[in-house]
Symmetry: C2
Subunit: 199 residues, 2 copies
DNA sequence: ACCATAACCCTAACGGTTAGTGTTTAACAA
DNA sequence: TTGTTAAACACTAACCGTTAGGGTTATGGT
């Protein structure tokens, strides 16, 4: 009981990591659909059931690193400077995230995702979860007093920005362009504040 | 070749409809996950392969009626009055669509969809396709001269409005609220036109 | 009448996922 | 140390959506 501390936790983490690493390597080598769960399990030297005790689905193996995404967005909201406006803070974070996943090293992974409908669907679903989480965080901010609908809307728009910018020819510029639109949409929901007209 | 017209077409349509009706009935009676494809096929008195020759997946059986969605949105853009602004036209269409799917008769179906992760994922994916199609239509409008990014962004926002409004306590009001935000976002991308401030 | 083929059927399989049932081993208490 | 508990893992067999392969019927065009 109490807090299981020590070797057991470490071994579990090692197993998990070994599965994730093996899976990603095989996927990139041979293609996502070509590699089966049974292949991954065999190569990682674990049972199939063990794979599914660490990852909820085959797709989850690919997005293993993506736990931080949600947290980074909500932290951009909660731990911003006092009275700092919301949207620019979110814009900075989205810029960073877009830059991160359009970096050269990440290219093969995202190409693989683009080529697999299953992976695309999975990521879309993830984004919705992130949007909901972000909406809750925004709604909880004491500096802001928006409708539930307004918060959920802005959260969606922000996540859309991430998704759309990644596909754009020039991701950085796209983020700026979309965030001008988001800024305007947000300004409508704030009766008291002025909108910033120029960029 | 040429145009196959007559009995064959009719019979095919009948089979398709029978499968769709049977599936929806069974799903509503016993629950989506409880009913298997083999059950649907048996009850509709067709082979399993026949089911998949009419519908691409189990989820597609539920959204059988939804072919019109994409078309209605794009038509709202293409066949609006000359010089009629884009956003209000889209708002009207989204209002109608939201009203349609929040009607009393449709409630059990949407409850079923909400309860099944697979169906939710499928619908999310559908929405993205609709957004892409809408974006293309908007980009093709000669009256408008926006960036590709701006068109895709607005299209996403409009689809978001549909999705968010359906979940809201008061869907009709939510559509109006979200479309005020969309109107503002759109105005930013139009250098020449004035925005309409009040609703 | 005759052929091409669209629509359908059946069987068998593939691949992701899960249930059921052990076996090992870290963690902890006596 | 020893015994107990439970977590992590293994193995088997199956479920379910989906597809391939190969055959039958009947519709539509010639």
């Amino acid at each position: 009981m109490t807090v299981p501390s020590g070797r057991r936790e470490r071994k579990k983490a090692e197993t998990r990591q070994k599965i994730a690493d093996t899976a990603l390597r095989l996927f990139l080598e041979r293609g996502y659909d070509t590699v089966g769960i049974r292949d991954v399990a065999a190569e990682a030297d674990v049972a199939v059931t063990t794979v599914f005790s660490h990852f909820a689905s085959k797709e989850a193996l690919v997005f293993e690193q993506d736990q931080g995404f949600e947290q980074r967005l909500t932290q951009a909201v909660t731990s911003r400077a006092p009275h700092e406006p919301l949207i620019p803070a979110l814009r900075r974070e989205i810029q960073a995230l877009v830059r991160h996943c359009t970096a050269d090293g990440a290219a093969p992974i995202w190409r693989m995702i683009d080529e697999s409908p299953a992976l695309r669907e999975y990521e879309e679903s993830m984004r919705l979860r992130h949007a909901e989480s972000l909406a809750t965080t925004i709604a909880a901010d004491p500096d802001l007093s928006q409708t539930t609908t307004a918060c959920r809307t802005i959260a969606r728009f922000v996540i859309d920005a991430y998704s759309l910018a990644r596909d754009a020819a020039d991701p950085q510029t796209a983020v700026d362009e979309i965030f001008q639109m988001i800024e305007a949409a947000w300004a409508v929901t704030c009766p008291s504040k002025n909108s910033t007209g120029t960029a």
